[in-house]
């Protein structure tokens, strides 16, 4: 895992006047009402806000899981809202890592296989990983290293059902790192586990940011975490308030 040279204030993601409404028949629910947000490279950013404020919605839009009603999202000055379905799929694979509140590991696959999955999907599509294709062994080696770095080197062949909540989240973090994404999006990664375990998961996320210069956006209610991030923004009434 090579170290990038950290360039101060270089913008990775720029969200401009982002709006998202949900329609239920004739009624319109405006969740995001013009979000402007800039995320720098190698930054760890916390997003806070009341329940139902639209934090998850915003994260999904940034992660290309959904399309905005209006507004633009730039990744390194590339407007991804104009991407086709196919381009978005590829983009998700190579550039975004997700960690959700509920671990979302595949129950039929062990820890190692869960981590390697993203690479299995992408590696076969030549030309849109960073040029080089990993061999099968290299993939599994990398997954093993990643699981080691989140402290799970003893748990490689365990299935999700054999792991604790905190361990599952650590596997999820390793999985998010697998494809060296531009950004990791974490939606309340500790929302479902106890305080002590949460500390461990927080530490790992902070360390990943520190050591790998990995850009991370993290949605959380936990002020212990937001205190340690570079920056914290609040989502209030569908807008960012600084």
């Amino acid at each position: 895992m090579e170290n990038l040279i950290k360039v101060e204030n270089e913008s990775l993601i720029r969200v401009v006047n982002l709006e998202k409404s949900f329609f239920d028949g004739d009624s319109e629910l405006k969740v995001l009402r013009g979000v402007d947000l800039e995320v720098d490279k190698s930054e760890i950013l916390a997003i806070m806000g009341a329940s139902g404020a639209g934090k998850s919605t915003l994260l999904h839009l940034i992660g290309t899981l959904d399309r905005p009603t209006s507004g633009t999202i730039y990744y390194e000055d590339e407007d991804i809202t104009t991407y086709s379905e196919r381009e978005l799929t590829q983009f998700r694979n190579t550039s975004v890592g997700f960690v959700f509140q509920f671990h979302q590991l595949l129950p039929e696959f062990n820890a190692l296989e869960n981590v390697v999955m993203g690479k299995l999907i992408s590696n076969r599509k030549s030309g849109y990983t960073d040029g080089r294709q990993l061999t099968r062994n290299e993939m599994y080696d990398r997954a093993e290293t990643l699981l080691g770095s989140v402290g799970l080197s003893e748990r490689l062949t365990h299935f999700p059902s054999q792991l604790s909540g905190g361990e599952r989240q650590r596997v999820a973090i390793a999985r998010a790192l697998m494809n060296e994404p531009k950004v990791i999006l974490a939606d309340e990664p500790t929302g479902n586990i106890d305080d002590i375990t949460s500390e461990v998961v927080f530490d790992i996320l902070l360390r990943v940011n520190e050591e790998l210069n990995q850009t991370i956006i993290i949605v959380t209610h936990d002020s212990r975490l937001s205190d340690q991030t570079n920056r914290t923004v609040n989502l209030v009434e569908g807008k960012i308030s600084y």
């Binding site: 999904h60 992660g63 899981l65 959904d66 379905e85 196919r86 799929t89 590829q90 983009f91 998700r92 694979n93 190579t94 975004v96 997700f98 959700f100 979302q104 590991l105 595949l106 129950p107 039929e108 696959f109 999955m117 993203g118 299995l120 999907i121 992408s122 076969r124 999985r175 494809n179």
Partner: protein, 486 residues
Amino acid sequence: MKFEWFVASRYLLSQRKQSFISIISVISIVGVSLGVATVILVIAVLDGVEHGLRDRFLANEAHVAVSKIDRGFFNNYEDRIEAIKKVDGVVAASPVVYTQSAIFQKGSQSIQDVIYIKGIDPEVEDTVTGFSKFVEGSVDFQDQKIIDRASFINDESVTGGIVLGARLAKNLTLHQGDILRLVVKLEEDNHSPGAFLPRIRNFVVIGFYESELAVYDSRMAFIHVDTAQKIYQQEGNINVILVRLEDPELAPTIGDELIEVSSFNTIDMPITTTWLDTHAPLFAALELEKIATVIIEALIILVAAFNIASTLIMTVMEKTRDVGTLRTLGASRGNIMLIFMIQGCVIGMLGTLLGTALGLGVCKLLSTNVIRPSPLIAYALVVLLIIFQICVTLKFILSKTKLRNIVMLLFWILGIAFILYCLVQPISLKELGLSEIYQMNQLPIKINWFFVGFINLLSFSICWLATIYPAFQASNMRPIEALQYE
């Protein structure tokens, strides 16, 4: 494909919470194999019957028969036969006096049967129909010793020897040396019915003809052509010329040529009847039987394909969150679609291959005479299995889906169609007279490998089609909704 196989195979092999999914997978596999196995078996039997019959027809019968349009007698028959023999593709030709006659036995007061009498020259006839190969006993119609002896024992005049169809002889309980009476009805009797005088001729039974074709074995008798000419007062004339060809399939075309060469003047008007004409209805019926079988078995496979579709719909529902996760990891809709199609196709493939193995295995057993099934038991078994399958399908899968009514209707139609088929199949076989004509001590089996390949392809295609809808549904789920699915 690697990634999709990786995921699909794991899903197929995992035996998690909803273990009934794998029960239904097994039922789908059984269903597909059942359909494939029965179609292979039934077609092999039908092919075997057809082939066996063709062989027997070709061995027993002339390929072309030349006669007058009014069934009258030919004069100059030697010249005509010479002309026919010169035609390309003709191997041999024989003169025959072909008539019908009522018969009764010594001591019987009334006519017992009406049979066909073929007046032949045994040596020439052998070159055309291989006559003496099928005769047990003597073929020497003019053997004076036998005739004299019979005449002496019975104290009656005896015209000549007769070879009887084996079954006919059995029905009449006639043995070698017994006397059979023929009622000879002459052409001129038709014109003056008042003057009808039954001419009765006595023949001594010298042999038995057994071809394993009921038409001949139970309704035919052979006498010498000279004797026939004498008793029918047609000296020097015959009414049928039988012809053997090098290639029996060419009968229709060579037949036309035979008409030309055997027509010596304008009032002759000869016609030909080929072996294909004679048995056209039988071959057509067999063909129909085969088509019906394929359609019915395709329906059976279709039922199994419904199971595959249902299995997949269940799997898709169970794996919705997984689908969401895979989409966040960057799996495309195509990837997702393939994952589920592979699962269905593997089930279809397994069922098809198992069915092929089963079908061929039973064919093998039948042809080596290890088992002798009664058709009734076989059909009952198939019906039971199908009903079982339908019940299980309905009970486990269709309790709450919207499709239920349509599918129920389809199942009923299929069920009724199948029962009808089971009722009609044995009847039509009986109507064909196969069991009568064909005295089998083992089922004739002929495996057509081309057809086995075709049925494999058909079965697999049906299974593949069944995967499309569920797989499409899975691929069509929006990632966020899939992620949030409970």
